[in-house]
Symmetry: C2
Subunit: 258 residues, 2 copies
């Protein structure tokens, strides 16, 4: 039987939240591999490539906005772990509401840094992840972008849950800094260099293991071909995925006593 | 730099088609892992769970139909390697047409066995892949179903290309059987037990490697936790993915001389 990603009963503890983050690394690595199946396919990102009646934007914006709208109707954003890239003009969910555990302070709902994630993804990640050129699979490329963006966004906004469980463990450490609106102090309290180092190393190892070519004879072990450069995963974690997660944590904590 | 899945220039040879099939195994395995993140979430598949105005069907049908429609507009089905699950009432592509290599006989367009794939997926694959229960992530579950269904469908319909390159290699072997409409003879000519055995073993190995839990210390090598049972992948290949691929090949060949 499979091992479910979400914690059964939606119980959030330091332990379960940590496990959630570790499991989400895997999803991000699989997403990187999936996107690297396609070359850059730059037409996907050009404003004027497709003439979409009643729509102003690139093909990836068209696919992401419209797919998010379908998933919103199907209830995706009822889960407080999910944050949309284009939440404006969202259709309402058409499914009965599900009793997701509500442990977050209501201020959490106003935190959505997907605009920053979107920019980092296209400016910093794609250029080092994929081969140049095009193969015409623009819709598939955009769908792959969406899945990967969603996995990264989920990981980064999971910072809300991380911050909440940390706050509950030792409110006395956080309250003075929150009242003083001391961003730097909060950032310092949330930062553990050795843990971040471990995460980066683990992510790179996952990228190596999951991204290898597997064959039946032992040859592939000798001259291993890879689906993408494993350091792309660890560098992305170091440069912006971990920093943005901490930014979400600080934003959340600053609202925690409102 | 990444290794693109599609063959550059869309050249189809026995070698490139074989490589395509091998690479598609990886995508299917990643898709199995992705779906196994969620428990069954049976509400996703119940006709009457969601009350969708103007739509009659389950949530997964709603998500698949509407997401396919978005991707159709974005040009997904211009690529002859892609086949939709709900091609009826499809919106037209709004992107300029791309010069995909057209090596298939025009009869290929009428071959779409996604109805069989859909049934096998829900009746045979899901029950052995995922844990029981529900976690409320129905939209995410349906999106994951769609990605995996698309990967499996692509693999199975790739049989059209396999059949075409095989036919071109030795038309003299195929033509008499095609003219005689000899399905059994064609199936026999296309079947190589030892190759199928190798594919099943390789898929199971991929499921073991890609589905393992990876940590930084050596502990995980000793008591390896897995994201799903690797034999689910090989059994699915044996029971229906390989047979349906051959069915597509036979259907294609039967139209090849029209």
């Amino acid at each position: 039987m499979a091992q479910a990603e979400s914690n059964p009963g939606n119980v959030y503890t330091l332990e379960s939240v940590r496990k959630g983050l570790v499991r989400q690394e895997d999803t991000i690595v699989y997403g990187l591999i999936d996107r690297a199946r396609f070359p850059l396919n730059s037409h996907t990102y050009e404003e004027n490539y497709s003439k979409i009646p009643g729509f102003c934007g690139s093909l990836v914006e068209f696919v992401v906005q419209n797919t998010e709208a379908v998933q919103a109707k199907a209830g995706r954003y009822q889960n407080p772990e999910e944050n949309a890239f284009f939440p404006e003009h969202f259709p309402l969910s058409i499914v009965p509401s599900y009793p997701f555990t509500q442990i977050l302070h209501p201020g959490a709902a106003s935190i959505n840094i997907n605009k920053s994630i979107w920019k980092k993804y296209f400016d910093e990640l794609l250029p080092i992840l994929v081969a140049s050129g095009g193969d015409g699979n623009y819709a598939q490329t955009a769908a792959s972008d969406l899945s990967l963006l969603q996995a990264i966004s989920r990981r980064i906004h999971y910072g809300k849950f991380v911050a909440e469980v940390k706050f509950r463990e030792s409110p006395q450490d956080y309250e003075p800094l929150i009242r003083a609106k001391d961003r730097e102090g909060l950032m310092k309290l949330l930062t553990f260099e050795s843990v971040e180092e471990m995460v980066r190393k683990r992510v790179e190892k996952k990228a190596m293991v999951f991204g290898q070519d597997v064959g039946l004879n032992g040859d592939d072990e000798k001259k291993v071909k890879r689906k993408f450069d494993p350091s792309v995963a660890s560098r992305s974690y170091q440069k912006w995925i971990i920093p943005l997660t901490k930014e979400v944590q600080v934003e959340y904590l600053l609202r925690r006593l409102d």
